[in-house]
Symmetry: C2
Subunit: 288 residues, 2 copies
């Protein structure tokens, strides 16, 4: 265990790669609209997990930069589309006007489409074609209708009798799949074997569930200033979350249990897994 | 030269593969909305070109089915998003209500996102990872901001002084890139060498330009019944097209010239290129 801030280092690596991403051949408006959302800050959890997953599986963090950028592009596109008037109709994100407020709805839809597609251009730059193809399969399955898009589809048509099972499945798809894929992509970039990738999947799946529970908790207990958004929305909007469904105490227990399961998935691995262990603990204690 | 209707055979193969496409793990609404647009008929030009490109390069048509499905998924997604109220606001396509009219705007946006992502799942099923990775690179570059999405971005922000150069560039991106990529994808699936792929690119580029010119011509000379849509829209909406910019005669000349250049790109190839040659001629004479 070391006190070096690897999260900060990986985050800076991911941020720098996104900042330098060329978007070759794209019209100026397109580049502006995509960069506006892609470079709007945030924790970069997914991009960081890709780099950390690669190191955990014995690779160098740099080797996972194309995957790190790709997963952040998919995340950024999903936020742009989720914020659209036809979806959640949000006008602010991380204290800035949302993409469609600045660029108009048409350009915002296209910025999302462009970022999603660019994620696969980014994965195409992975030199080993076998690893590139495995990454494409992993990211496409996790972010498409079987994963993230499917979660948003469920969220948009929430049935009136939606309960715990519906919630778990919706959140697994909408938030969990991409977080899980981030770890897996990093491991694939390191050329990890099947057992390592299986551990990464399990770690990522539980981390994703914990992450979502903490999000729900922070909506009640968080500080608006450090969160950078208005809170209490879940209760006001009668949203189904772990907190509104089970209460705060049970949600906190759930976040702890899922974090423990994430760490458990790495049992038997050595110091190379420390970063992923620490990240799970860090996400449990986060205040934004 | 043979009288066998290879276009019909390839179209039926593509159609059958799309019909049978599993969309594994997607929620029911998602599958319904995606299939509604994906299976709405049409010429399947892009899917057919992928199969024809594969055969031209010495492969079996079956080998290009994942690419054939992928390129049709990208085409279908682009139509769903183009039809949205924030874009062209079209309520009818091929005589059927558009996706957002039937499923609502949110689900239509997500059906598009899902189809785009699924295209890369489909390419992941290509057994040889080198060919799969090359296909991903080709399709992502052609359909993203440097290609098709970039063309729509340009179209949505048409400058008041847009002229011939702007039009050529916008159409090359918006329509040309995906048609060109379809041929190229097919050839990649056959394991084609660099020279063959270069010919495919050139053929596809000119075919795309000819195809767009014929579209513009048919808006003036076509028959509403066989076209399945209302015509004369380009003139009424003051749209910039080859016809409104250069006049009908010059547009017809342009379509002929581009078709000849497409065929020319295949010079020196044998009977295996007959299908692509015939398809270029067929697209020039089409009435819908």
């Amino acid at each position: 265990m070391t006190n070096t801030d690897f999260y900060g280092i990986y985050k800076a690596m991911c941020e720098k790669a996104l900042e330098a991403y060329p978007f070759s051949g794209a019209p100026e408006t397109s580049v502006k609209a995509m960069r506006y959302s892609l470079l709007a800050g945030g924790k970069r959890l997914r991009g960081v997990l890709a780099l950390g997953g690669c190191v955990c599986a014995g690779g160098r963090a740099e080797d996972a930069l194309p995957a790190s950028c790709a997963v952040e592009m998919v995340h950024a596109y999903s936020l742009i589309h989720d914020d659209l008037p036809a979806m959640d109709n949000d006008t602010l994100r991380r204290g800035k006007p949302t993409n469609h407020v600045v660029f108009g709805e048409a350009q915002a839809i296209l910025a999302g489409d462009g970022l999603l597609t660019e994620a696969f251009v980014s994965l195409s730059s992975i030199p080993d074609p076998s690893l590139a193809a495995a990454c494409v399969c992993c990211l496409a399955e996790a972010s498409g209708s079987a994963g993230m898009v499917g979660g948003q589809v469920m969220d948009m048509e929430k049935p009136s009798d939606a309960g715990a099972e519906w919630l778990r499945e919706m959140e697994r798809r909408k938030t969990g799949c991409l977080i899980r894929a981030a770890v897996e992509l990093g491991m694939i970039c390191a050329g990890a074997d099947t057992d390592m990738v299986r551990r990464g999947r399990e770690y990522g799946t539980h981390l994703g569930a914990a992450f979502q529970a903490v999000d729900d908790i922070l909506d009640v207990t968080g500080d608006e200033k450090s969160m950078g958004k208005s809170l209490g929305k879940d209760r006001d909007e009668n949203k189904l979350t772990a907190v509104t469904l089970f209460g705060l105490d049970e949600a906190v227990d759930m976040a702890r249990r899922e974090t423990a399961l994430a760490v458990e998935a790495l049992r038997g691995l050595g110091h190379e897994a420390d970063f992923l262990r620490q990240t799970a603990e860090k996400m449990l204690k986060r205040v934004n």
